[in-house]
Symmetry: C2
Subunit: 254 residues, 2 copies
């Protein structure tokens, strides 16, 4: 059994005793039922991690005493921001959880033309908070000490158009027929862009419209078809991220 | 909206009019509510696909008339059999669904030392039938015309030991610490084995025991750690398969 891990944003600020945020208190006390003296690990969400011990648990708060700093699991060699078209609830949860697990740096939820979930302005904050909780839960499980940022939803077309001047490798996951029709090269240029990282954009269940595809192309996104077989929208982002990171990490080794 | 696809094992045997199996009748009639004249596609599960039209639907049966044969989506350049440690129900479903989607050829469910699901002999046939249904549903969605075989469960250790004389590339997904302790090389030898395909084995939620790891090594399996980050057992197989197929397919292109 692995040592339970908690997000402690105040760790690393010089204090030996650190309070946990409210949602972490709940997990520690009500879910895992840990008490004073239990061995845990805490991470600051920015890449540092410590062995720690529960020092206090009560109705409203929990605090830990930091022990030795630990070498956290390696982060990818370069950051990737995922532009993720909003999916139906369960699929969105899978996509977020798996993207966080494999090593994404930040997630920009996107409202695409074929997004089937209605995202009203009034819901945006509540949805974003929910997505952040899903990402944090995944990070606690997969051993990363970095919590990827999850931004509030934006229009897919407008957001992609705004990336025109971004210098990173820009990739648009797209269906085989769309990529072929655009005359885009089949073998991907993924060795490029390691230094700056990449922007990777993944579409909704029904795929991109021709207009979104053209907007992305005009902003410098390269259409990327991972497989001749059709990948579900919830599974494609983590597979694409894994391909990028695997290639980048392998090149570091050799 | 894409044309609905059905598995018609009797297609390709020379008949122009083909009956659908019972579970496909249910999907066609009760779920999609198609009637006589509806345009569909059918695939034989062995790699061939046709445009077709519903010719008859009644309480007990459905039949289609085959039209032109269609070029199906490309299969991977070489077959991979996935030895998949049995996971909790939802996670097993995700692992099967995603492995089928990305292109696995066959799946061997394995009972590992840390498999938490009890698999009684009396349940094996029922479980296997359920796994086969999950795989078929995924195949219908992802456009493949090949239905991967799903075998009945076997003991992980015994099955891996039996693969000693197999000539394919043999890969064992394993945790970073286990791979490092075995002194296995970090950069994977995945370019090997394309001609023969590969055997890929994926462990349970709690990982392999030292004894299982040793058995696998003795049978010629190479430990493979995809990522320094910890991948959940339900997500790892599809990511590993995607890495293999992507590399193999890219090498065909160039």
């Amino acid at each position: 059994v692995t040592t339970p891990r908690f997000h402690a944003p105040l760790a690393g600020t010089g204090l030996a005793r650190v309070q946990l945020p409210a949602h972490e208190v709940h997990h520690l006390r009500d879910v895992l039922r840990l008490s004073r003296g239990a061995a845990v690990r805490v991470f600051d969400g920015r890449g540092r991690e410590w062995a720690a011990r529960v020092e206090q648990v009560d109705r409203h708060a929990a605090a830990v005493l930091l022990d030795a700093e630990i070498q956290p699991v390696a982060e990818p060699p370069a950051p990737v921001t995922l532009g993720l078209a909003i999916l139906k609830a369960d699929f969105m949860e899978e996509a977020l959880r798996d993207a966080a697990m494999v090593g994404v740096s930040a997630i920009q939820p996107l409202i695409a033309a074929r997004t089937v979930v209605g995202v009203r302005t009034a819901d945006a904050d509540r949805l974003t908070a929910r997505w952040q909780r899903i990402v944090l839960a995944s990070i606690k499980q997969c051993g990363r000490a970095v919590v990827p940022a999850v931004h509030g939803p934006e229009s897919a077309g407008a957001w992609m158009a705004m990336q025109r001047d971004a210098t990173q490798l820009k990739l648009l996951l797209s269906e085989p027929a769309m990529t072929a029709a655009a005359g885009a090269p089949a073998p991907i240029v993924w060795r490029r862009g390691r230094a700056d990282g990449a922007l990777l954009v993944s579409g909704p269940e029904g795929g991109w419209t021709a207009s979104e595809f053209d907007t992305a192309r005009a902003a410098g996104f390269i259409p990327w078809t991972i497989s001749p077989r059709v990948l579900r929208a919830d599974a494609a982002p983590a597979i694409a991220l894994s391909l990028l990171f695997y290639e980048w990490e392998r090149n570091l080794d050799s």
